[in-house]
Point group: C2
Chain length 201, copies 2
Amino acid sequence: MNNNYIIAIGREYGSGGYEIGKKLSEKLGIGFYDKNLIDVAAEKSGIHIEMLNKADEKPANPLVNPFLHPGYENGTVNDRLFWTQSEVIRDLADKESCVIMGRCADFVLREHENVLTIFIQAPLKNRVERIAEKYLIEIPAEAKKEVLRNDKIRRSYYQFYTDGKWGGRERKDLIINSSVLGIDGTVDFIKEFVEKRFNLK
Amino acid sequence: MNNNYIIAIGREYGSGGYEIGKKLSEKLGIGFYDKNLIDVAAEKSGIHIEMLNKADEKPANPLVNPFLHPGYENGTVNDRLFWTQSEVIRDLADKESCVIMGRCADFVLREHENVLTIFIQAPLKNRVERIAEKYLIEIPAEAKKEVLRNDKIRRSYYQFYTDGKWGGRERKDLIINSSVLGIDGTVDFIKEFVEKRFNLK
C-alpha cells in the first residue's frame, strides 16, 4: 500500500499562500513543488523543458497517452504543458509525499486517495497591503490592480482546465483566511489538519 | 472593552454541521443558538413570538429602527422575522460568547469584530448516507432528494437576505469538509482555531 500523501494548495494572490505552503512542507519534512520545481520534475521524468518550449513544433509527446487527451496534437503549447504537468503531478503523487502549489493539482489528483485540498485566502485589503509592502508599491491603487490582475490569471487558468470554479469549495477540504491566525499560525494549524488526517502523530 | 466572541456557523444539510456546532459550544462552555433558541432570545428581549407570528397584522415593531429597514412596514412576515432576528443576534453578540447556527449570522455580524465565520460541508455521497441512516430512509434516491431540497431552502434563504452566495468563501474564515476528520475530530480542530484566534489558552 502506498502511504504517500499530497497537500494540494491553491491561493489568492497576496494571501501568503506560497509562504504558508513552503513553510508547511519544511515543517512536515516533505517535498515542495511549485511551477519551477514541477518543470524540474518534468525534466527528471525525461520530459525536456526545451521540448515543452517548442511543443507546437513537435509531434505528440509519446509520454502522454493521446487517447486520454483527444486532440492532443491540436493542443496549444499551454495545453501540452498542462497535460504533461498533470502527468508529472500524478507521477509525483505515486512516488513521494509533498506539497504542490497551484497547477490545478486538486483537480488533477481528484481520483487519488491521500490528497488534502486546501485553499488560502485573505480579505482584499490585507492582500493589497501585503503586496504593496513586498514589492514596494507606494500607490495602493497600483497594488490593488496587481492583486486583482494576478487573481484573474489564476482564475482563468484554473477554470479553463478544470471547468470548476477557482477557489470553489466543491473540491476543497479546507479553505482558510490566513489573516485570522497570520502566516505562521496558519502553517501550524494546517499542519495539525494534515497530521490528524494522515495519522502522522 | 467587550471580550465576547461569536462563532457563526453555516452548513450543508447532512454534513453534521449542527452536531459539530452543538458539541463545539459545549466544549467551549458558551451558548448555543439555533432557530428555536433565537426565538427564545427574542422573547427574552421583549419581542413576543406571537407578535412575530402575527407580524403582518401589526404596525412596525418599535424595537427595530425603521430607518435601518426602509419598507419595514411593507415587509412580509418572513422579512420582519429576519430583521427582528438580526437585531436579536446583534444584541446577543454584545452580551455573550456563543455559537450561532445559520440565520445568516455571518452577514448580520459582518461589522462585528470578534466573529469567526465557519462553513461545514461534506461530499454529497457522505451526506446522503448520513441522512439515510439518521432518518431511516431506505431508498438512497429519496435521501438524496431530501439533502438537495434542504440545501436549496438554505441557499435560497441566505441568498435572498444577504445578496451573497450561500457557503461562498468571501465571507468565511474557515470552510471545512467534515468527512476528513469526522464529527468529533472536526469539533476539536475548529476548537483549536477558535482558541488560537481569541487567545483562550
